[in-house]
């Protein structure tokens, strides 16, 4: 420390100031980002009659735990949760496997036409979802596949350009030696994929699965278009907020109970994210290629 020149000392002081400033911004931003989340959690414990009162109180009084009980019992919450879980799991599993296959092929196999096909994949990244969703709906409706989970299965099976790209990038980074060694042992591309690439792609698989899962879990558009009220997902159920008292044949909105339901609904994706955030954020660094 004592060996620092005046210039260096000035620089380090500046650096400290700059860092202090940076921390202030970071904490303020963090607070702003957290406020909506905290407010929802607090409000989910308020009575419906307290929620509409003004001015809004920060802390719920009384603390209505029952909101959470009602959130789970007044609609068949678990039925919708199951629908969401089922769709998300089926779609994610299928699409992770097929995207990994396709990504592997683009990264590691050679064939005429490959370049052009990859060009299509990349350009599909740019195709707005909205262009395909209605024509697909028209088609599925005519095939009587609306109000079934088939569209998700079919979407899953046919892989997703984003994840193809993701796996392609991942597999491109795998050293050639590994594959060569396997080839020397006489393994074909399928064995190489299943026994070497797939098991070593855990970070990518986890990331891809979670992103897909979170995507379907949170998706509101596809289920609201495709599925009727019974088969739909939590996203749709909570968006239209028809939590109602038992004995109310009209199904009207009860905000605080819906908020409680929304909190429960948000837990799975957040937990998944925290479990795999090292994979999601650090991703490829730990490729398992040691």
């Amino acid at each position: 420390m004592s060996a620092l020149s005046p210039v260096q000392r000035r620089d380090s002081r500046r650096k400290r100031i700059r860092q202090g400033f940076a921390y202030v911004i970071l904490y303020v931003t963090a607070f702003l980002l957290a406020v909506p989340i905290i407010w929802v959690i607090l409000s989910s414990f308020k009575a419906e009659s307290e929620y509409v009162k003004y001015p809004p109180q920060v802390l719920p009084n009384p603390f209505v735990w029952d909101n959470y009980v009602h959130a789970l019992t007044w609609i068949p919450f678990f039925q919708f949760a199951w629908n969401s879980t089922f769709l998300a799991t089926v779609f994610s599993t299928l699409t992770v496997v097929t995207s990994a296959m396709v990504g592997f092929a683009f990264a590691r196999l050679e064939a005429p036409g490959k370049g052009r096909l990859f060009g299509i994949v990349v350009s599909l990244l740019m195709v707005p979802a909205i262009v395909t969703i209605i024509p697909q709906f028209v088609l599925f409706a005519r095939l009587h596949l609306t109000n079934t989970y088939w569209p998700w299965v079919l979407w899953g099976v046919s892989a997703s350009p984003f994840h193809i790209f993701l796996f392609r990038q991942f597999f491109t980074g795998v050293p050639k030696e590994l594959e060569d060694a396997a080839e020397v042992d006489g393994a074909g591309p399928f064995r190489i994929f299943w026994q070497i690439f797939l098991p070593n792609a855990q970070p990518a698989l986890a990331t891809s699965f979670i992103l897909n899962f979170v995507g379907v879990w949170g998706d509101w558009l596809a289920p609201i278009i495709y599925l009727d009220v019974k088969k739909t997902t939590l996203a749709v159920k909570l968006a239209t907020a028809t939590y109602s008292n038992p004995g109310d044949p009209t199904s009207q909105i009860l905000v605080t109970i819906t908020l409680a339901a929304a909190v429960i609904y948000t837990i799975p994706p957040v937990v998944m994210f925290f479990l795999a955030q090292r994979n999601i954020m650090e991703g490829v660094v730990t490729t398992g290629l040691k």
Binding site: L26, L33, I37, Y54, P56, L117, I134, W220
Partner: protein, 327 residues
């Protein structure tokens, strides 16, 4: 001993022979394997991409109502000319452009700024990065509920806070200021994603490059403008394109805020093009017309993308081998 020796030679030689003898066959097998591997995507692309699009294009020339095939009539280009006479469609398109012009730059600037700050050798970087990323994991339906509570004109938190200084405030965040409010929500939800991408980009910039510039006497601002920004342009470019594509087809946020049914009509300020399209399709059963609206949007998006690509050569710096030079 001798047996062992011969065994090793054998196992070393056998595959080698296999290799050389079958090179040609292997090329064909590999091609077959390649197509086998990509077949799920390829079949899907044709059946769920090409075919629906073809059907969709055909349907956009009819009065198809989504239900009855018997009453379908061929309208020629009538649906398309109708778009240009549909003042609501034009209005909605203008709002969409305005929204994109507001949302995309703010999102880029906020996420880039956050990434820059986090790149300053912040100790708790991991913590902040996770926290900032978190809103993007929260499902949009829950996000909208959260923001409704904050923005409600009558008993929302925001107006309650303002009322401390100016009693009786009832600013119509969700209608009169719907566009800025929507931008706030969208940035709140999306900034983390942008930040992570920018941060990854920033970490790819060799420290030495910036330090060298500083040693040469450049100010931090100059380094930022002349080293950091140019090196980040490919990332910015990429984000810009995705931001534009996403913004032009914005649908779920305004509709969820307006009630969350497919036919919910958002406030005027956020009556976007795709909202109008969905209204036509699902409220008025005008599938044919809705598809025509959709195709025109697609054309617009393509045009925007092409424009950005075309101009990119003037401002995007392609870091040819730049990453390796630091070593």
């Amino acid at each position: 001993m001798a047996t062992t020796y011969s065994k090793t030679t054998l196992s070393a030689n056998k595959p080698r022979r296999w290799f050389w003898q079958r090179t040609h066959t292997r090329r064909i097998t590999r091609s077959i394997a390649f197509y086998a591997f990509i077949s799920p995507w390829l079949i899907g692309f044709v059946l769920l991409g090409i075919i629906p699009l073809a059907v969709g294009i055909l349907a956009s020339f009819t009065n198809y109502d989504g239900i009855n095939v018997e009453t379908v009539k061929w309208l020629g280009s009538r649906n398309y000319s109708r778009v240009f006479n549909d003042s609501e469609a034009i209005y909605a398109f203008q709002r969409t452009l305005l929204w994109s012009a507001l949302n995309v730059p703010i999102w880029l600037v906020v996420s880039f700024t956050l990434a820059l700050i986090l790149n300053q050798g912040i100790k708790a970087r991991g913590f902040f990065r996770t926290l900032f990323y978190l809103p993007s994991i929260i499902p949009v339906v829950a996000v909208v509920w959260a923001w409704r509570l904050l923005l409600d004109p009558n008993n929302g938190v925001l107006n309650a806070i303002i009322s401390i200084f100016r009693p009786g405030t009832a600013i119509l965040w969700t209608t009169e200021y719907a566009l800025p409010s929507l931008t706030a929500i969208s940035v709140w939800k999306g900034a983390g994603v942008g930040m992570v991408i920018f941060l990854a980009g920033l970490q790819g910039i060799p420290r030495e490059l910036e330090e060298a510039a500083v040693i040469d006497g450049a100010t931090r601002l100059r380094v930022f403008l002349h080293v950091t920004i140019p090196l980040m342009t490919p990332v910015i470019f990429f984000q810009l394109i995705l931001g534009i594509i996403g913004s032009l087809q914005q649908f779920d946020l305004p509709v969820l805020l307006a009630g969350g049914r497919i036919g919910s009509v958002p406030p005027r300020a956020t009556y976007f093009y795709v909202v109008h399209t969905m209204q036509q399709i699902f409220t008025f059963s005008r599938f044919g017309y809705g598809l025509a609206l959709m195709w025109l949007l697609f054309v617009v998006i393509v045009i925007f993308t092409v424009i950005v690509f075309r101009t990119s050569r003037y401002w995007v710096y392609y870091e040819v081998e730049a990453k390796g030079e630091g070593k």
